[in-house]
């Protein structure tokens, strides 16, 4: 059981872990609210059912008690009549000389509403006195009547019969009355001799009926009376029972103890309250069909269900609204953070909404991103600056070596009195340095850069004793375009040292600047040894070191990095080479005029 509970809890937890915050909040609030409401509803319904049953039981008990009091009072009244006739009339009379008809008539008249007849019979069934009629019918067999036999059988008691038609006396009006007979064994004195007889008081059945028929138990509830053996004495539908149109559970009810119980009779559940009437042993039975009590349950249940469903529906919407109010700003913030992760550092796109706490969180993230952006731009600036410094330093490293060789060549020319070439070389060197300095600027015109290359080539051509020829061409519209200083010279230097130096025949270097649309190209082409395509591609790859030939490829990479640092990654170098055919290194730059606008 505990294991199962733990498994279920874990399953729910796993399920919720995969769901959004809004879903989790909505479902949790809704489940708690609906379960709470269901518990309240069920407990109220149960309370309603039990209190209704309790109320009905109490009401039935109260009414049965009241009927019992009334019936007991009525029966005791009849018993008092019997006692009066016996103790005040019969016991005081000697039948030989006294007539008891007068006092009996008086008692009858006093109670004639409730009594049909009174009579005193001898042991043989002869009428000694009777009121209001005294002539027996020819057919009347008194001694065989049940009331007579009961009185003789148990002489110490008063006996109440079940309802029957009074059939003793001749009635000139041909009236037949339903009566309940009260009989007792009596001692009769005649001429001093005591004989025995039976005193009969026939009570009008309508007296009992009146006591019971005015009882209102509500709806289809009713009350009935049986004797101790279950024979019906009164029932509101007595005729229907006698006609077999309906049935009653009277035989079984006669065996019930006093109190309330439920029974099922003819597939109908009923609440039955039983009370035994004192002395007679009769049972008063109040019957309330359970459907009377539960009649409204269905409607109440439907109403309750409708209310519960409506309340649940409102709660679900309120929960959805509340959870949305809580979760949506968090979701928006989460999306903003995801954008930041993806590199979008636009702080204005970070949502600041929702409750105070979430707004505060949004503002904090905004401030954090702003700070991060500052830090990142500082780092980038620092890195760029550092890189430029390194590249400038590398560029400046070339100069002393070249200067030493050039000056050595000049010295050699002067020693050989080749003053004219020495002058040319010194002049070119001076111009080279003038352009190199360029007042400290890194950006120069294409014209200046090509002049610089021209001076360098003049010097190198003289150093290499005219072993190669060179041409420099530039389309006129390219000359005013801007370029980074000293990017062509390292390429020309590579052409001389790697392409032409080991060639037997005359080399040729061609530098050409041209424009295609918004792009500027400067090609450095030699007819040297060339190289395989793979080698050409590897020269510009980052992280690779070329081990072929004399160079390390650092010069090419420096140029490439400087171009990309200044103009972006779409610009740079392309190497086109075929073994034994020569090499072209193409510089790709944006065609921008020196003043910074578009050329």
């Amino acid at each position: 059981m505990e294991n199962q509970f733990r498994k279920t809890t874990e399953r729910v937890r796993r399920f919720l872990r995969k769901r959004s915050l809004q879903f989790t909040l909505s479902i949790s609030f809704t489940v708690v609210a609906v379960v709470g409401m269901a518990l309240v509803g069920v407990s109220l319904a149960m309370r309603y059912v039990s209190s209704t049953e309790e109320l009905t039981t109490r009401n039935n008990q109260r009414i049965v008690d009241q009927v019992n009091i009334n019936l007991d009072s009525y029966l005791r009244g009849m018993m008092r009549v019997s006692d009066s006739i016996y103790y005040s009339v019969i016991k005081n009379a000697d039948l030989k000389k006294d007539s008891i008809s007068g006092p009996m008539s008086l008692l009858y008249e006093t109670n004639h509403d409730q009594i049909i007849s009174v009579g005193v019979f001898s042991e043989t069934g002869k009428v000694i006195a009777a009121e209001p009629l005294s002539d027996l019918k020819e057919t009347a067999d008194v001694t065989h009547q049940a009331w007579f036999r009961n009185a003789e059988a148990r002489i110490e008691n008063l006996h109440f019969s079940t309802p029957h038609v009074e059939n003793l006396f001749q009635d000139p009006d041909n009236k037949y009355h339903w009566v309940v007979s009260l009989s007792r064994y009596v001692e009769l004195t005649s001429a001093g001799t005591i004989t025995h007889g039976v005193l009969l008081v026939d009570m009008n059945f309508s007296g009992i009926e009146q006591i019971c028929s005015n009882v209102d138990l509500g709806k289809s509830s009713y009350i009935y009376i049986t004797d101790g053996s279950g024979e019906i004495i009164y029932h509101p539908r007595q005729e229907l029972i006698y006609s077999n149109l309906i049935h009653e559970n009277n035989r079984k009810a006669a065996g019930y103890q006093d109190g309330t119980r439920s029974e099922i009779f003819e597939n109908e559940e009923r609440l039955v309250t039983v009370k035994t009437v004192g002395y007679t042993g009769w049972k008063i039975v109040a019957v309330t069909p359970t459907k009377d009590i539960t009649e409204n349950y269905y409607q109440y249940t439907l109403f309750a269900l409708l209310c519960a469903a409506f309340a649940s529906f409102l709660l679900i919407f309120v929960n959805m609204f509340l959870s949305s109010r809580i979760a949506t700003p968090i979701k928006q913030l989460e999306r903003s953070v995801k954008n930041i992760e993806d590199g979008d550092l636009d702080e204005t796109k970070i949502t600041v909404s929702g409750s105070y706490e979430v707004r505060h969180l949004g503002k904090t993230i905004r401030s954090m991103v702003r700070e991060m952006k500052h830090l990142m731009s500082d780092i980038v600036r620092e890195q760029e600056s550092k890189r430029k410094s390194e590249l400038d330093a590398l560029q400046s490293q070339i100069n002393p070596h070249f200067l030493y060789n050039t000056l050595d060549a000049i010295v050699w020319m002067i020693e050989n009195e080749n003053y004219r070439d020495a002058e040319t070389m010194v002049t070119s060197l001076a111009r080279l340095f003038r352009i190199s300095l360029s007042k400290g600027r890194n950006i120069v015109t294409v014209a200046d850069e090509l002049k610089h290359v021209q001076n360098y080539l003049i010097i190198e051509k003289m150093r290499f004793k005219n072993k190669f020829e060179f041409t420099i061409e530039a389309e006129p519209e390219t000359r005013a375009c801007s370029t980074i200083k000293l990017i062509v010279q390292p390429l020309v230097e590579n052409s001389i040292h790697h392409g032409l130096e080991s060639m037997d025949e005359d080399g040729e270097i061609r530098v050409r600047a041209y424009r295609r649309g918004e792009d500027l190209y400067i090609d450095v082409t030699d007819n040297g040894l060339g190289m395989p395509k793979e080698q050409a591609e590897s020269l510009l790859k980052e992280g690779t070191v070329t081990v072929h030939g004399k160079g390390s490829g650092i010069g090419l990479k420096n140029v490439q990095e400087r171009i990309r640092l200044y103009f972006g990654r779409e610009y740079g170098l392309t190497i086109l080479s075929e073994p034994d055919e020569g090499t072209t290194v193409r510089i790709h730059l944006p065609a921008r005029p020196m003043d910074g606008g578009t050329a």
Partner: protein, 317 residues
């Protein structure tokens, strides 16, 4: 809140409103189911003891089935024209159903057929022939007639005079046919008495005087009373045997005195109750078939047996 959610919210709200209305309607329908029906009961004579007992059954059924009953008696016995007028009047007045004891199984066929087209009609005690939609509440008159004839047969005597005044009523006719059939081999004579009670009593007396010592069978309670009284009054008729159908207090006292030898008694209370029940069932379009009313043959010796006592002495409340 998004537009979609607002639409959803309003849809649910409408749904709940509809449920509430449907529930209210169902409660109203339940209450309507307990509505009062108006049923008219048209007797075939003036108010008699027999019809008083029938009325008690009607009243009990009216209470049980929530029926408002108009109990209509005729100004005289077996007045077919008056019954037709009353039937038409009750149908026109908007009764939900009519219970009728047709005085003439022939002349009332058409009026009842016309009424049946508008409202349910239930025949009680007697009926008309040839109407398929007409439900009849009565005892098995043929069986009752035969049972009574067997009692007659036990008494001996070869001459049997059958007296009645409602030959047009199906129940009387059925009983008469059954008696004749059961008493084959005996001389059975039929005599029709006038509708007026006084004249009927005189004629019964004359008939009794004309057939001293013969056996007489009265086909209704009023005739039985008249024949019984005639026997009691005329010394020359003391040896006549009298049997009959129906009960009144006087008939019961004649039975107890030995003036009447045996009677066939229908359960009148039962008949009253069942006719209203059948009418309500018909209004509710239920058809459980025509219920049969019980009867008993009661003689002087067994009249106080509980089962006979209950049918012979109905509770008067």
């Amino acid at each position: 809140m998004s537009k979609k959610k607002i639409v959803l919210f309003l849809s649910f709200l409408t749904l709940f409103l509809l449920c509430y209305l449907v529930l209210n309607r169902s409660i109203r329908v339940t209450q309507d189911a307990k509505q009062t029906y108006e049923v008219s009961v048209i007797c075939r004579s003036e108010n008699t003891e027999t019809w008083s007992t029938v009325k008690q059954g009607i009243d009990q059924a009216a209470k049980d089935r929530n029926v408002d009953v108009s109990f209509i008696t005729l100004s005289g016995r077996n007045n077919a024209a008056e019954q037709v007028t009353l039937l038409n009047r009750e149908v026109e007045n908007g009764a939900d159903a009519v219970v009728i004891a047709p005085v003439d199984s022939g002349s009332l066929v058409k009026p009842i057929a016309d009424a049946l087209k508008k409202i349910p009609v239930v025949a009680v005690q007697s009926t008309v022939t040839g109407l398929s939609g007409l439900e009849t509440v009565s005892c098995d008159n043929a069986a009752m007639g035969k049972a009574l004839a067997r009692e007659v047969a036990k008494s001996g005597g070869s001459e049997v005079v059958v007296l009645g005044n409602s030959a047009g009523c199906s129940n009387v006719a059925a009983s008469a046919r059954a008696i004749e059939s059961e008493l084959k081999g005996r001389n059975v004579v039929f005599r029709n008495l006038p509708d007026e009670i006084g004249k009927a009593a005189d004629m019964a007396g004359q008939t009794l005087a004309e057939h001293p010592g013969d056996t007489f069978v009265a086909l209704d309670a009023e005739t039985l009373e008249a024949v019984g009284q005639a026997k009691k009054d005329r010394k020359e008729c003391r040896n006549s045997k009298i049997f009959g159908v129906g009960r009144t207090n006087k008939v019961v006292s004649f039975l107890e005195e030995g003036v009447v030898d045996a009677v066939a008694v229908e359960n009148d209370y039962n008949m009253g109750y069942l006719c209203i029940q059948a009418a309500v069932d018909r209004i509710g379009r239920r058809d459980d078939g025509s219920p049969v009313v019980n009867y008993r043959i009661v003689s002087r010796s067994d009249m106080y047996r509980p089962e006979n006592e209950r049918i012979l002495f109905p509770f008067v409340r």
